[in-house]
């Protein structure tokens, strides 16, 4: 399978990298793990004139916990590095589990969290849990950087807030929080190597049996990962019961607009949203960050 040719750069610093992007113009692209972009290039969907590899920017690989900032994950951290990170497992096991549900071992060894976000496909596995946990991303440009909540990062199918001709996503931060539990559950057609037919993430803040706060995010059922805000409102301030969770699940169905495709019909996806919302909530409420 033919891979079109391109110029290749491997800058030694972030400043050099953003400078190169500016200089190379609109048809240059950033190369992180390559598991999405090389597939797109082989399939003829993308033909960048140049690739700017981030492989020498080792500082973008780090995963750190800081009491003030929270969990900061460098954009180049691979899915397996996130999955196996002791600090991620200790703080947000749910994120580690979400990373584990993604693709297969070989892809998880190369694919990065930054790439998973920038690729911006509706069925991506990391965005729902990151949105439920209130994460934000840092986008570094040549002269300044900005932060964008993951929730407003996606603007359409394969579209996001990053300006590819001048910005690089450098970091994903999950701020310190009061949440008591979170989870991401996914339905794929196989246990491994399958895109989500539906993915649901939930993060809850419990006070005994009372739901003080909750965030629910649905993946693969709209053009972008989307919050089920009406379903959240069903729960806030109430004592949880199985009936209440079922009601939240039914409400979540009204928050999505799934398509029918090779992996499942819209009707099937709506049914999955109801059931998986209920299950995700119960898991997060009763089992903590799993």
């Amino acid at each position: 399978m033919y891979l079109p040719d391109f110029d290749y750069y491997a800058p030694e610093s972030l400043t050099e990298a953003t400078g190169l992007l500016m200089q190379l113009g609109t048809s240059a692209r950033v190369l992180a793990g390559g598991t999405d972009i090389l597939v797109k290039m082989k399939s003829g969907l993308l033909a960048p004139s140049a690739l700017v590899s981030l492989k020498n920017l080792h500082e973008l690989r780090r995963i750190r916990w800081d009491a003030d900032r929270g969990l900061a994950i460098g954009a180049l951290a691979t899915h397996n590095e996130i999955c196996n990170s002791a600090v991620v497992q200790e703080r947000f096991l749910s994120l580690s589990e979400a990373a584990h549900k993604l693709a297969n071992n070989q892809i998880r060894n190369r694919g990065t969290i930054g790439g998973n976000l920038v690729n911006a496909i509706p069925s991506a596995d990391l965005p729902p849990i990151l949105i439920a946990l209130g994460a934000y991303v840092t986008l570094a440009g040549p002269n300044s950087s900005r932060t964008v909540p993951v929730e407003s990062f996606f603007t359409g199918v394969s579209r996001c807030a990053l300006e590819p001709e001048r910005e690089i996503l450098t970091e994903v931060v999950i701020p310190p929080q009061k949440t008591t539990g979170s989870t991401y559950i996914k339905f794929g057609l196989r246990r491994s190597g399958a895109l989500a037919v539906v993915g649901v993430a939930a993060a809850v803040t419990m006070d005994g049996n009372v739901v003080r706060d909750v965030r629910i995010c649905l993946g693969a059922v709209y053009k972008v990962p989307t919050r089920a805000i009406q379903a959240e409102q069903v729960l806030i301030g109430k004592t949880w019961t199985n009936d209440l969770l079922e009601q939240a699940g039914r409400t979540a169905v009204g928050c999505c607009l799934p398509i029918s495709d090779i992996r499942g019909s819209a009707e099937y996806r709506r049914d999955l949203v109801r059931i998986f919302t209920r299950r995700a909530l119960k898991r997060a409420i009763t089992q903590g960050h799993v």
Partner: protein
């Protein structure tokens, strides 16, 4: 890595990498994939090409000890890395215990997935010498066998792990 351009202006790069313990400094193009460097450049054809999209795992090699799909790695990205292919698994003409176990368990039918399977299994046993069956299945989930020989493959990996118990 060093960039050079020929008289037609075509850019090439000189990289250095270690493959099965031997150091190489091949001249490659930007769009040369690791799988093609190994097969066409170094004549290590044990690494197979299947889907070439990162789904089937037949091009699995170890890159700094970790299984990766060589069809989705630019040769340029392997600059400075240590690669192990199936040709580097047997040592001094002696089959690795995993290879021996695949033979003993009849875990091979057509053999096309076998190099990738062995390398995924090798990486698993290196980090987890005594895996459970679900752990073995998870480790080889990125390696498709179309002869449906998974039962014997899983048995072979578990048996190889047993030997070191």
């Amino acid at each position: 890595m060093q960039a050079i351009a020929d008289k037609q202006g075509v850019k090439r790069y000189i990289i250095s990498l270690t493959v099965n313990g031997d150091e190489y400094s091949p001249v490659i193009k930007g769009n040369t994939l690791l799988v093609n460097l190994l097969r066409d450049g170094l004549d290590l054809t044990g690494t197979k090409k299947g889907c070439e999209l990162g789904d089937c795992g037949s091009c699995t090699v170890l890159m700094d000890g970790k299984p990766v799909d060589a069809c989705l790695v630019l040769a340029l990205e392997a600059d400075g890395c240590e690669i192990i292919t199936i040709e580097g698994v047997a040592q001094h003409g002696e089959l690795d215990r995993l290879q021996r176990s695949f033979i003993d368990n009849a875990a091979i039918q057509c053999g096309y997935c076998t190099p990738g399977m062995i390398l995924s299994a090798k990486a698993l046993l290196a980090r987890n010498p005594h895996p459970t069956e679900p752990e073995v299945r998870a480790a080889i989930a990125g390696n498709l066998c179309r002869c449906t020989g998974y039962v014997n493959i899983v048995k072979a990996v578990l048996d190889a792990a047993e030997v070191t118990a």
